[in-house]
Each structure stands twice: as structure tokens, then as C-alpha cells.
Amino acid sequence: MSVERTVEAVWRLEAARIVAALARLVRDVGLAEELAQDAVVAALEDWPVTGIPANPAGWLMTTARHRAIDRLRRDDRLKDKVAQLGRGLKDHEDEYDLDGDDLRDDLLRLIFMACHPVLPTESRVALTLRVLGGLSTGEIARAFMVPEPTVAQRIVRAKRALVGKSFDTNREEQLPSVLEVIYLIFNEGYTATAGDEWMRPELTHEALRLGRVLAGLVPHEPEAHGLVALMEIQASRTAARVDRQGRPVPLLEQNRGRWDPLLIRRGYAALLKAEKAGPPGPYVLQAAIAACHARARRAGDTDWATIAALYGALRTLTPTPVVELNRAVAVAMADGPEKGLEILDGIDGLRDYHLLPSVRGDLLAKLGRTEEARAQFARAAELTRNGREREALRRRSHSLGRHAGDQSAG
């Protein structure tokens, strides 16, 4: 097996921990990442000659620490620190401290730094994938379909912006920023349809893994578990979400036999941990909604009343028009289309969001108000930017038109 691929595999497995430990030593994320990369380069040069070491992760860590010392030696102000490091190094020459609270703390610190709210979102995403996921600039670029130099710039700017930022972050305050980054990465991979770049499912996995790691590091935070639960359950639907032609299949039409029960079970387990950890936040509520759907063997078995109540709870935390829209759908399913329409009428905003007329059209069609429904679908088709969606909406509009004569108009 190629040495290169082994180095890459070890790097991907250990990047976060190596950079985290180095960041504690040199107090700079950017420098830490560079030193870690230097160690990777050294491995690529040495291992083909000396063979793959018995403890490859330890080798990378030790090499990186040597480089850290070399670098710090060049900085006179840090002579004391060098003496400290040198002593530490002699004691644990080949040891790689896999366990230990130090490492957990280092990792947490790195996660919060990479997702620092002072950085623009796309920089947080790029830096997170780089230092926590070990992805190369090229891999990140392909995943987000932007040019490689753009990603490189984002990472450079992010590193620069973090210089001097305190490593002792206010975790309570900044946790939402971390969760947002992880979920963003997840969605970037999740909303890609089949036939896209191969990297897209990788993003979903990367986010899931990061989320799982985070939940393990902050087990007292319900929202960390909630995010994991939400991602596990959403990921469980991957095989059912697109049909053979690559067209997206709506949730209620999916073949539930193709949902992954392993991931669903993991989602439930995470949700349980969330409930034990404290009062629910937005991610926990969204996960609970996803769990409701997962529990229904068939779409017809869905517990819409509970989902409606959960959206009601979500609305008090995040009172956005989109949440209200989803609540309208759930209430309509639970209590009838008129009740859903009432809620839609109360929504302020979303004027140009295609889902609003689309949902309205759906409810009107169910009430036999065919002409009005058709108009709504036509409007929705105009508003959506997605070609496939426009097609689907036009089809609905036309099919209603065709049967207009069969329904007794109101």
C-alpha cells in the first residue's frame, strides 16, 4: 500500500489532535497548522526510505513538536517556553498521548478558534475543514465548487484574523457559532443531489464526525447532541432522497425501507442524551421533529400533532417565517387545511420564497379550491430558481388545470 496514501490517512485521522496540541504550544492556530504540515512533508520524505513507523501518529506529533521548538528558538522572547518544551519532549519521546484531559481541552479550544465568530462564515468553514478535518485546499475547493485560490485566501485571512485572539473563549456564547459551521458543512453535502461531485457525501460525513466529536467533548450541552441527532436522522434518508433519474424525492414520498435504521437509532440515542443534558434548543427541537418522521413506518402514520406542537415550541425560540411555514404544514396535516391556511395568512415576509405559494397551493387543492391552487403553483414556479423544482411546480399547476372541469368550483 502506497506510503503517500498511508500518510494521508494518518493525517486525516490525526490532524485535529496534532494541530490542537501544537496550538497550545505555540499559541497560534496558523503557525500550528503550518508546523503540522511540515511534519507531513517530512513523513512523505522519510517513510518511503525508513518504512512506516510502528506508531505513525506519534511520529507525526513528535516531529511537529520538534519543529515547534525549532521555530520558537528563533524567537528570543520565548526562550523559557523552549526550555519547558524541551524537557517535556525528552520525557515522552515516542509517546502519543491518546487519552488525557489535556488533549480534550486542546481539541475544544481549536474547535472554538476555528469557528470564531470574528471570522466570516466561509472562512470558518474552510478553516474548520482544514485543521479539524485535515482536508486539503483542493478538496475544500472542490467540495464547495469555488476556485482553489479562493479557499486558500480564506484560510490565510482566517489565520491572520486569529493572531492574538485569546484561546480562552467563552464557550457558552460561542457554541452556536460552532454548531452553525458544522450544520452548514452538513447541508452543503446533504442538499447536493446525486451525480454531483464525489466530495459532497464526504461533507456530510465530515460534519457528522465533527458533530460526534464535539458532542463527546461537551456532553453537558443539549444542543451539541441535538445537532448530532438531527444530522444522523437526516443522513439516514440519503438512499431514499433521490430517484433513479437523480430527481429529489419529497420526504412524504420516500421509500422508508431505504432509510438507514442504524443512523436513525444513533439519532434517537443522541436525542436521548440531549434530553438528559438540559432544556431543548432549536437543534434539539428540529431533531425531535426529524425523529417523529423517522418513527412513522409509512407517511400516513406520521404523528402530525406532535410535529405541530414541536414547531410551536421552535417558534418561541426562533420565530422565523420559515418555521411558521413548516408549522402551517404540520397543523394542516393534523387539523385540516383551513387551519393551515390561517397560519399562512399570518406570515409576515417570505414574499419571494417559492415554498409559501407552493404550500398554499397544496392546501387550496386539498380544499377543492382548484383555480386558486393552480394560480399559487404557477406563482411558485416563477419564484423558484431551481430548474427541477420549477418543472415539478409547473406540472402540478397544469394537472390542476386539466381537472378543473371535474371539480365543482366553489
Binding site: 486525516r12 464526525r209 466529536v213
Partner: protein, 108 residues
Amino acid sequence: MRFLMTMNGGGPAADEQLYAEMGRFIEELAATGVLLATGGLAMEGSHAKATGGRVSFTDGPYAESKETIVSFALLDVRSKEEAIELSRRFWAIVKDGEGDIRQVYGPE
């Protein structure tokens, strides 16, 4: 990508220390978000043999031989090389024995 790692029987009996180290390794896999499922297999069980749709069952126990799976771990990794590296670490702990690493086909 998912990989199923299996360990076969027929090796030296595990002592307390080995169980402890293996336990730590499994915890580590879970902490890094890589472990999807794991378990030890009972040596009792049934073997199914079918011909033309007709099956006969032979009750165990399974012999603890080098060909019999005794435990498994299902991993969520990014490449075969990652799976092999993790397997390498597992066997460094167990020291003697045999097993397999096979990709599990999935929706991705």
C-alpha cells in the same frame, strides 16, 4: 465509507488488561466519531445451509477457531487506508490473531 472489521477466534485467551486496552481503543473510536457499531458474537448460534430454498439449521456452539468471527466493529471512515490504519492500531493491542477489513456497500 463503511468498513466492517472482524476478529476471529482461536487466539490466546484475553486477560483483564487486554480487555481494558481494547475497551479504551473502542472508546477512542467512538470519541473520534468513527465507530458506528461494535459487538462480540456469542459462540452459541445456528448455522444455516440451504439448497434450492430449503434450509436446515445446525445448532452451535461455534468452534473458537481461526475461521470463526468472534467480534466486529463497523467503522465510518473516509478511505480504505484509514480503515487499515485503525485496524493496525487494533492489532497492535491484541498482538496475535487474524481478522478481516471489508468495505460495506452503502448509499454514498
